[in-house]
Amino acid sequence: MIAALVKYRQAFLVGMQSNLVYRWNFALRGFFSFFHLAVVFILWGAAYQGNGMIGGFSLDQTITYFVAMLVLQFFISAFNEDYQISEEIRNGLINQFLLKPINYFLYRFSIFVAARLVSGLLVLIPLVVALPWLHAHLALPHELWRFGLGAVAMLLSAVIQFSIAFCFGLLTFWFLEIQSFVILSMAVESLLGGQVFPLDLMPPALFRISQFLPYFYQMYFPVAVLTGRLDFAATCQGLLIQSAWVVVLLAFNQFLWRRGLRRHTAVGG
């Protein structure tokens, strides 16, 4: 057990180092994310003019939602894990994992956790710098349960994010190019994950349907819990559905991995 932990701790440390090497990428990504936030401010600011409330939420609550979404993305969302996995399958790097007692999923997951820890902590720097100005626009709820359950929802969301990226990476066993699949699903994920607009602004029937899809639990759910857009009952129900999706996706990962290996022809070495 301890030996296993040491094994993946190494992967975790390597993940951290390689992320610190690419700090330029991070700086660029972070910089342009704040531009995106400017678009959100301008668009929603204009939409709220003459309306005190939209969908039962004030402008500040909506701004808080988008800020939280942005920060959480750096903590839990999968950036390019799918491409990295695809690359490793294509150029034969995964062959070494087939010969050694290392679980490829856990190995990649350790790197993912390390990478998100680095990018998540780094994004706090610009956030703290912007806080004096942002502060007036933030409207965070005060209930303590939100932070506890929100943290659980965040962790489960990270697993869902990674599992979906892992699935797309494994598609490389069947298809040479996965980029179009990834970008297609990115459109669906960002829409149904609540990155384009808060999902609760959709017509109630559509919102209800979206609650049963895995995308809902990728980003929207933890953000909505933390920023006060879901009540206690809805949060508990959400955590149940989210857990179910975690189990389904993990099982599906294993299934794809087994099936994929049967087709794998170990190119390179």
Partner: protein, 262 residues
């Protein structure tokens, strides 16, 4: 000039043949673009289900604006995106040598190497969005108005192209920064917003300093409210200035380029 057009036509022919060979790929990418267009339209539809006006623009006026932005973006994606995206990668990998060795302007050769028929298919969707909004608004633009709209959209294309060239040229200086091309999308987001929504510092930066807002607002206003000289002159001037800056930076970049391959 004629020779360059011939080269471009040859690239186009090659792109069409290629996408007919990889039909599944073509279909997937056409679908990808269509989905992203749908995402933008759904955002408008959700916002307007809660309000009647955003910065004085009604739902269909806004749709016309977004359609115009999508139109310019599809033109850029269809004609130049793949080539310019590869340019950044080639600079990093040293593959750019190949373009320098060709008997032609390096920027032209590198910008027109690949076309994306899938984006050009979605051009029809974007035109459809503009046409549908115009119909819903009961607009009957004159021929001159449509011609001016087309001219301004072309100016918008020039501006987008210049911004993308500037982003990609960064890789001459920052060779280990991947994904600078993505920054283009962030700037393009501003082009879907009405100019009236910009206040204070945002107004100075995004309306006056960066041309991202004017390139869609000027053509959309031409269809909505008719001919406005100052908008047209401004946009043509802005397009010319940004094009010159992009070429200048690109040329400076080439001077710094030291082939990375051995």
């Amino acid at each position: 000039m004629w020779r360059y057009l011939q080269i471009w036509a040859a690239s186009a022919r090659y792109a069409v043949v290629r996408s007919m060979m990889f039909r599944f790929d073509f279909l997937m990418w056409a679908l990808v673009e269509f989905f992203w267009i749908a995402v933008n339209l759904l955002l408008i539809s959700v916002i307007y289900s809660h309000t009647d006006s955003v910065a004085g623009w009604s739902k269909y006026e806004m749709l016309l604006l977004v359609g115009t932005s999508l139109l310019i973006q599809r033109l850029l994606m269809g004609l130049f995106w793949s080539s310019l995206f590869e340019l950044g990668r080639n600079v990093r990998s040293g593959g750019f040598d190949f373009f320098l060795a060709q008997p032609g302007n390096p920027l032209f050769m590198a910008s027109t190497r690949k076309l994306d028929p899938d984006s050009l298919v979605n051009l029809c969707v974007a035109i459809g969005v503009v046409g549908y909004s115009a119909h819903q608004l009961g607009l009957h633009p004159s021929f001159a108005q449509i011609a001016l709209y087309a001219l301004l959209v072309l100016c918008g294309l020039v501006v987008h192209y210049s911004i993308l060239v500037l982003c990609v040229s960064l890789s001459f200086w920052i060779t280990n920064a991947q994904g600078v091309e993505g920054s283009y999308f962030t700037l393009a987001e501003f082009s879907r917003l009405p100019r009236e929504a910009f206040r204070g510092a945002a107004n100075v930066v995004f309306v006056w300093l960066l041309p991202t807002v004017i390139i869609t607002n000027a053509p959309a206003r031409t269809l909505l409210h008719g001919f406005a000289w100052h908008d047209a002159v401004w946009l043509v001037a802005v397009a010319a200035i940004w094009f010159v800056i992009a070429i200048w930076v690109f040329q400076r970049g080439i001077r710094r380029y030291s082939s990375a391959s051995s």
